[in-house]
């Protein structure tokens, strides 16, 4: 199962990231209004949408965006979460109190408001960076990618909180284990204890949570895009495609079914891969 999931994700990634090189530059924006809502088959393999854009092309581009958001934002949250949680849990006491209160405060901020504020203020920032470059005669422009970048930051900034809490809890219970005491007693440097003895032992729950985070992040992206805060049309993401499809469910089922099915299979695959990884990394189960 895990292998099948892994193969599927690899295929999907290949299709989304390498596929576009073989397509025309406007493969996902090419609007042919006469062909709108064409059923699958014929010229449009997976049909066309309400603006006559090729559904296959849009799914490929959407996969690119969704996977990128899912993986990058999860990676960001993973890195911050593990580092933060490990330090907080291992040192405990006052350090832990302060670090965890900070997490609580961030947690209590309403996520949507936080993201809206971030997006609104940072949008101007992106424009002014461009301004700054233009003033110096440079062609460099960041505002094209700026929204994506912000999306990563916003999602990462929220998702790491839970990760940090999970890691901290795990580390705290590990810290009570005698083998950590044995490490201290051997005179091992703290850094080595943390990253050689602690981190490998918390990977199990972390991987499980990560496989849950990737889909959660993809959903979050869909939600933000829906609010008009995430990916900006005409760039598609799976979330946006599903939303568009849901709006036209009666007239054009293919607009919902294809991206929806793909999304679901992807989420399943990530879960299977997560389970497989956890078992593979655990010496106890690798043998039987």
């Amino acid at each position: 199962m895990a292998l099948a999931g892994g193969v599927f994700i690899l295929l999907l990634a290949g299709l989304s990231f390498i596929g576009p090189f073989f397509l025309e530059g406007d493969y996902y924006t090419n609007t042919v209004l006469e062909d709108k809502l064409t059923a699958p088959g014929g010229e449009y393999t997976l049909g066309s949408d309400h603006l006559g854009r090729d559904q296959l092309g849009r799914i490929i581009k959407g996969g690119q965006i969704s996977l990128l958001v899912g993986l990058v934002a999860t990676f960001v949250s993973l890195t911050i979460g593990i580092g933060y949680g490990t330090i907080s849990g291992y040192f405990g006491g006052k350090i832990d109190s302060v670090m965890m209160r900070l997490v609580d405060i961030l947690y209590s901020l309403p996520f949507v408001i936080f993201v809206i504020l971030l997006m609104v203020f940072a949008k101007d920032l992106g424009d002014s960076i461009d301004e700054w470059f233009r003033a110096r005669g440079s062609e460099f422009s960041i505002s094209g990618q700026w929204n994506m970048l912000l999306l990563f930051v916003a999602i990462g900034a929220v998702e790491w909180l839970t990760m940090a809490r999970i890691v901290r809890g795990q580390v705290m219970s590990l810290r009570q284990q005698e083998f950590i005491e044995a490490c201290i007693s051997l005179g091992l440097p703290t850094r080595r204890i943390l990253f050689r003895h602690m981190v490998p032992n918390i990977l199990g729950p972390v991987i499980v949570y990560t496989t849950l985070t990737i889909p959660a992040v993809m959903l979050l992206e869909a939600f933000l895009s829906f609010l008009g805060l995430g990916v900006q049309p005409p760039t598609p993401s799976w979330g946006l495609l599903i939303k568009d499809g849901a709006d036209r469910m009666r007239e054009a089922w293919w607009m919902l079914v294809f991206p929806g099915a793909l999304f679901a299979i992807t989420l399943f695959s990530f879960n299977f891969v997560g389970d497989g990884l956890r078992d593979a990394l655990d010496p106890k189960t690798s043998k039987d």
């Binding site: 109190s97 209160r101 284990q177 005698e178 083998f179 005491e181 044995a182 490490c183 201290i184 007693s185 051997l186 005179g187 091992l188 440097p189 050689r196 003895h197 490998p200 032992n201 990394l281 655990d282 010496p283 106890k284 043998k287």
Partner: protein, 330 residues
């Protein structure tokens, strides 16, 4: 006794009890170890006996500087361990090691025996990579494990074998002092004997000084030269092993000895058992004076006044802290 090698002087380990989420307030103190003085000669094995919560494990961990003492000093050889900090302490740790109770928790489940032992060997010594496998193999053979198992993970071993791995890891740094915290109580009877034999062979061969912590008097008697009995953070009796076991002087030691069930039906049915009332009190609010007085069958009013000092009857090496020591042992 020759010059003491390990000297513990009036050691106290108190834990504050805190309440509150943001602003912690100290609401009490748990006196886990409350003024323990001990000295051990080089190569000596001291058995430390007591019931759960008496502070024997905390004492062991404080001696090894895994817990910072509140007061008092620990001197090993010429070095005062309680004065060391940071890097100095880390490098000093080569001299003293601990063997833990639970061989299922004391080994990192994600490391092979080889990487675990190789890591321990390399902490304080430079060993060329090519020689490592040989060193690990030698270490494993020393504790009675076949070297060919070195690529296995802890879960592939039984409890007794795991405890052997833990012992090998402690010996990897070539320590002088070992503190064994209930090393056999998680093991089956038939395996216990194997580990006890191994420990007593090793201490003899390597001239290790050892503190052997256990709640099981008969195990302690077997392996130790001297026995110290702890009750609520203090030592109440100390002396040569056989003497403490066969002729206990302190009322608590007497009760403890009589409570140990003997695998001998005749003596078990005839012997008189001293049944102590109640449970050991909490170290959070220890009773005044002699902390044993609420459970002691011989307690008098003066027992509540102050902690009694150590006294000896015949043998100076055998001491007990009881105000009625002389009258109770006539």
């Amino acid at each position: 006794m020759s010059d003491p090698y390990l000297q513990i002087n009036n050691l106290k380990t108190h834990f504050p009890v805190e309440k509150g989420i943001l602003f912690r307030k100290v609401t009490g103190t748990v006196k886990a170890v409350d003024g323990v003085s001990l000295s051990l000669a080089k190569g000596e094995v001291l058995g430390l006996v007591g019931e759960s919560g008496c502070g024997k494990s905390t004492l062991g961990r404080t001696v090894l500087q895994l817990i910072k003492p509140t007061e008092g000093t620990v001197t090993l050889g010429s070095r005062t361990l309680t004065d060391l900090d940071g890097k100095e302490l880390r490098s000093a740790r080569a001299d003293f090691q601990m063997i833990f109770q639970d061989p299922y928790a004391s080994l990192n489940p994600r490391m092979t025996v080889y990487s675990m032992l190789a890591e321990a060997i390399q902490v304080h010594r430079k060993v060329p990579k090519a020689d490592l496998a040989g060193a690990v193999g030698a270490l494993m053979e020393k504790v009675g494990l076949a070297a060919r198992f070195m690529r296995k993970y802890p879960h592939e071993f039984s409890g007794g074998q795991r405890q052997r791995i833990a012992i090998a890891r402690a010996l990897a740094v070539e320590p002088k002092l070992i503190i064994a915290d209930e090393p056999v109580s998680a093991l089956d009877v038939s395996i216990q004997a194997q580990i006890l034999n191994l420990l007593s062979d090793l201490t003899r061969e390597m001239e290790l000084t050892m503190i052997f912590i256990s709640h099981d008097l008969s195990v302690v008697k077997h392996i130790s030269d001297r026995i110290a009995v702890m009750y609520l953070g203090r030592i109440v009796e100390i002396g040569p092993a056989t003497e403490v076991f066969e002729h206990p002087q302190h009322p608590y030691t007497k009760a403890l000895c009589s409570a140990v069930p003997m695998p001998d039906p005749d003596s078990e049915r005839t012997r008189k058992r001293i049944l102590l009332p109640g449970d050991p009190p909490s170290p959070l609010n220890p009773p005044s004076g002699c902390t044993f007085h609420p459970r002691c069958p011989h307690a008098e009013e003066r027992c509540q006044a102050a902690w009694p000092s150590f006294e000896s009857l015949k043998n100076d090496a055998h001491q007990a802290a009881c105000v009625r020591l002389a009258e109770l042992n006539q």
